[in-house]
């Protein structure tokens, strides 16, 4: 049978492979410097643009790679469902925490590995408490706030009524220009 993803690993191999990918991801985050409090706060104070450079180049490379794999029918997309109440309000709450903590969930895990104990006893513990709190309020906000301004799992090409590859090329050009501008400005 030809599934949507012909190279999907057999069930038993997925967790070991995911562990391996996580190790590589953690290695890369540490090499990029984004597991450092100074680098993340530097970004949020608009003094050091490392975080944005890592994220934008990851989006650029991943977007182009996924587009090629999509044309070859080797992968399926998994865009997340969204609403104003979820994406914007949740995003702002996350952001306020991000600025106080100086790490995000992935980089806090990475920071623990380089010996940053504030990322463990503050970050990881705090995030566990925050997610536990969310599981408690979820039934109440699920039928209210999370439904405000629902737009579902739409993607930019759908909004623009344009072919996916055209939007990919346009977004790639914008990101490449932004990265060049940062390098030109010495950020």
């Amino acid at each position: 049978m030809m599934g949507k993803t012909p190279f999907l690993l057999p069930e038993a191999a997925r967790k070991p492979f995911a562990l391996f990918l996580g190790i590589v991801f953690g290695f890369l985050l540490q090499k990029g410097g984004v597991t450092r409090y100074e680098v993340i706060i530097g970004q949020l104070l608009l003094l050091d643009f490392t975080v944005l450079k890592v994220m934008l180049s990851a989006v650029l490379a991943g977007m182009l790679g996924i587009q090629v794999l999509l044309q070859l029918k080797l992968v399926a997309l998994h865009p997340k469902h969204g609403s104003v109440g979820s994406s914007v309000i949740g995003g702002l709450i996350f952001g306020l925490g991000f600025g106080l903590l100086g790490y995000c969930p992935g980089t806090a895990a990475g920071a623990v590995g380089q010996g940053s104990l504030d990322a463990l006893f503050g970050g990881v513990f705090g995030m566990l408490l925050g997610t536990a709190f969310y599981s408690g309020i979820y039934p109440r906000i699920e039928t209210t706030v999370l439904r405000w301004g629902t737009f579902g799992d739409i993607t930019l090409p759908e909004v623009l009524h344009s072919a996916r590859w055209k939007v990919v090329i346009a977004v790639a050009a914008v990101i490449a220009s932004a990265l060049s501008a940062m390098s030109f400005l010495g950020l």
């Binding site: 990029g32 100074e38 994406s87 309000i89 903590l101 970050g123 739409i154």
Partner: protein, 173 residues
């Protein structure tokens, strides 16, 4: 092979490699990279251990059962990989208070831990509220051109810039 042990790699090199990693997870696991769900599953596992099986009946844990899945293994790998990178490049150090924090707010551990705990609480809450974090929305969702992810990413940075600037301007007076 010396480059493997350098303390820092150029940001764009790291980003491109992360983009390649995303392609691998889509191709071989049929999933985008994400981190915050694993935290929700872990808090569910802890709650289950403390309160018993009624935890699994909570609506949120029916959506995200408190079990070890592939993403949990992925997040478990992150500190291991960062440890390998830090030790092999000589940047591993046990640190309670980051130097930037110590320079502005002083070397006291408790004020840093309380702020980090409050920040972690909001980051964990907000990530699940938005349905993803800087990895799941910021990178994985943005590269799929998902509207939810571009909006959430803008909100992540808007909130982050606001709270970091407020915190540091308060300290500087």
């Amino acid at each position: 092979m010396e480059w493997l042990f350098l303390p820092r790699w150029p940001a764009v090199t790291v980003g491109i490699l992360i983009g390649f990693l995303e392609c691998l997870t889509f191709l071989l696991l049929d999933k985008p990279i994400g981190c915050s769900t694993a935290f929700a599953r872990t808090s569910g596992m802890i709650e289950k251990a403390l309160r018993g099986s009624a935890t699994a009946e909570k609506p949120y844990y029916r959506l995200f059962p408190p079990v070890i899945d592939w993403e949990w293994m992925f997040v478990f790998g992150i500190p291991l990989g960062a440890f390998i990178s830090a030790v092999s490049s000589g940047t591993f150090r046990i640190e309670w208070v980051p130097s930037l924090w110590a320079g502005i707010f002083g070397p006291g551990v408790s004020s840093r831990l309380i702020t980090a705990l409050a920040g972690g609480f909001l980051a964990g809450l907000g990530a699940r509220w938005a349905g993803g974090c800087t990895s799941g929305h910021g990178i994985s969702g943005s590269l799929q051109l998902a509207v939810s992810s571009w909006l959430a990413s803008a909100a992540f940075f808007a909130g982050g810039i606001l709270s970091a600037m407020l915190l540091f301007s308060l300290a500087r007076g």
